[in-house]
Symmetry: C2
Subunit: 408 residues, 2 copies
């Protein structure tokens, strides 16, 4: 007998019929001899409806109260699923965040989990009941309701799996698993059977919206085996697991595309300490996240500085860059909102110069100019003109995934 | 400085605009120098929407889970009102049943309040914040969410007023107060300025749907002064207060009409002990509430037994009566689904034979036959043919309210 945490996202519980289907799936899992802790999101559309009410009433709502409103969505789904299970002869009971209890800090609307008491859930499953937990929500030390931020139900599920030492955490969603690229752009993309935590972190942060990034961090830290799979069938999905020995060979696990990129270039700034800090400090202060940064030192004692920000922040970042240039007497900065970032994700990539070389050759062969490059232990990212986005993804996928990263 | 509990029903918080209006009203109350504890219902229609989901998923849902679903309605309104107040510069925070805490028994969907800790709310108002409490909900000893049954927010408000020793409990609703009769039937009906708890209990149980009956029982037990008034304007409504000396004079406070009545007559049953018990025991066992009962002993050792039940229960009650008659060898019972009950409510009525006499004269004058009569300390009820319902209400209102009960 094993203990499995099953998490069902908004589309998986989006209607009365879908909730019945989830109930039947849990019944089958129990019939196969497993104990189940279920974690549910709000019915799809419900969180947006509730946030709509909040925003109509207050442009900048008190976050602790917004949390109380929004947490009601998961509360409703958890109880609906529990009573559907009971109606089908499966003993069940619902748990809200404060009943589990899932203790978080008090950073409302994006709280972080501090501690979970898994005992009540284990007592429940050992009595033969399914524990149905409202995802996304917790409670702070003062007893106030908190929420974990968008996609927080994934984190709830993985954290509960860690706290109860569950054998696996199944994330049911509306896609079949993690793909080597976006199938809408790259028809040759295929589903991965397994992927390491680190690769998944790169994929998650690069826009593959399958798993919330914090849930992957949690899974890595506590060694939770996560299985991402579809709620619309019984096919196996993708296992997100610890790195294995056989993984040491360089394999490219995926090509991702991030369209939310805009570029700012300061063509000529004095090359002396503190200049970059003087620019990036006010940008960070404005809450703008800078992604890629490159700096070319010229021969004339000046340097060219280029960085990327989310497109929605381009105006604000440009304003700060302008006033900085005026202060230091540098020429006006240049902006480009028409770039994208393509990333090649795979373990051990930095140490294999061969992969980087093949990336550059592939793009050169398609006459695509690389504007910026950044690398990490498990990814190579290039910023290119937005026009070539799909072409670059397909070419890199063909060369590095379909042919194989070590086939060169 | 006084402490006022203000309760807002579903129509009073039924839209974003109505919630803003409630927020402005609370701000005005505070500006006038009062501390406020607000109690809110779910937005109108929301409870029915949630119950609809529950019933689609389970014909006989587990009641503890149904409570978790339905309680979310008041949770949303409480937080929306709190953040609207904050947005308007009025410090506020929301409280759910388990946060207050409002401890109830475990009789889910119709729980009764056992204890309330008013201290957290008093601490909140003393800090200058408005406490906004989700009505209708509590928590049992095990930490499970409970609800108090339809209209339970009235009870929450009155119970909080008792627990915090508030100076008044204002019930804001979509009517202007308590009327001497239903204005749709009796255009001469007028709003009462004040009414005693006992009269209000009679009016509430007789179908004047202004206040939940349990909230009036609560108010009477703890001496809470309740003010029922409209949320659509600033006019004073009706005070529900302890009986006062000046009330000893007989005054008729209202004429009510209950259409949910059906009559069953056993024309000839043996007049011996145990016969009535043998009939009413299985009827009570079937959960059917018997209202009026009359029994006429004849000269032949037989008796005629007539009683009323809610119309929806007529079929079930008749079935039980039939099998009882067969058992004791009595003739078949007769059923009449076309009767109504008209009640004249007022203090000290039983001891004033004059009022009863005027009731009978008034109905006789309109050629309305009285089929059954029952009286209590503060009401006289008559069952009549449904055809004459409105005529009887208007005639009795004219004679006993407009002319005055003691004017004869």
């Amino acid at each position: 007998m094993s203990l499995i945490v099953q998490k069902f996202g908004g589309t998986s519980v989006g209607s009365v019929e879908r909730i019945r289907e989830v109930s039947r799936r849990i019944a089958r899992t129990r019939a196969a001899g497993h104990e189940v802790i279920a974690v549910v999101s709000a019915m799809s559309g419900e969180t947006d409806r509730l946030l709509g009410l909040v925003r109509e009433l207050a442009a900048t709502p008190k976050r602790s109260e917004a949390d109380v409103v929004v947490a009601s969505g998961e509360q409703v789904t958890a109880a609906l699923l529990a009573l559907t299970l009971e109606n089908g002869g499966v003993p069940a009971r619902s748990f809200l965040g404060h009943q589990v209890r899932i203790v978080t800090d008090s950073d409302h609307t994006r709280a972080r989990i501090r501690a979970i008491d898994g005992q009540r859930l284990l007592d429940t499953t050992r009595r033969g009941q399914v524990a149905v937990v409202a995802g996304f929500q917790g409670v702070d030390e003062n007893g106030s309701i908190t929420t974990l931020g968008r996609g927080g139900s994934d984190t709830t599920a993985v954290a509960l799996a860690a706290a109860t030492h569950a054998d696996a955490c199944e994330i049911y969603t509306d896609v079949a698993g993690v793909y080597t690229s976006d199938p809408r752009i790259c028809p040759a993309a295929r589903k991965l059977d397994r992927i390491s935590y680190d690769e998944m972190l790169e994929l998650a942060s690069l826009g593959a919206k399958v798993l919330q990034i914090r849930s992957v961090e949690f899974a890595k830290r506590y060694g939770v085996r996560v299985h991402v799979r579809t709620s619309f069938g019984d096919e196996l999905g993708t296992w997100v697991v610890p790195e294995e020995a056989s993984m040491e060979e360089v394999t490219v696990s995926g090509i991702t595309l991030d369209r939310d990129q805009a570029k700012i270039t300061l063509p000529q700034v004095p090359d002396r300490p503190g200049v970059a800090a003087g620019l990036f400090r006010p940008i960070a202060g404005a809450g703008i996240i800078v992604d890629m940064i490159i700096q070319n030192v010229g021969t004339d004692g000046n340097t060219e500085l280029t960085f990327t920000v989310p497109r929605s922040e381009l105006g604000a970042a440009l304003e700060i860059a302008r006033s900085h240039c005026r202060e230091i007497g540098a020429p006006e900065p240049l902006a480009d909102g028409e770039i994208v970032k393509v990333s090649i994700v795979g373990l051990g990539m930095r140490s294999h110069a061969g992969v980087a070389a093949r990336v550059f050759e592939t793009l050169a062969h398609e006459a695509i100019n690389i504007q910026m490059i950044s690398t990490s232990e498990s990814k190579i990212s290039v910023a290119i003109d937005a026009r070539y986005a799909e072409l670059a993804v397909r070419a890199l996928h063909h060369e590095l995934v379909e042919k194989g990263a070590t086939a060169a």
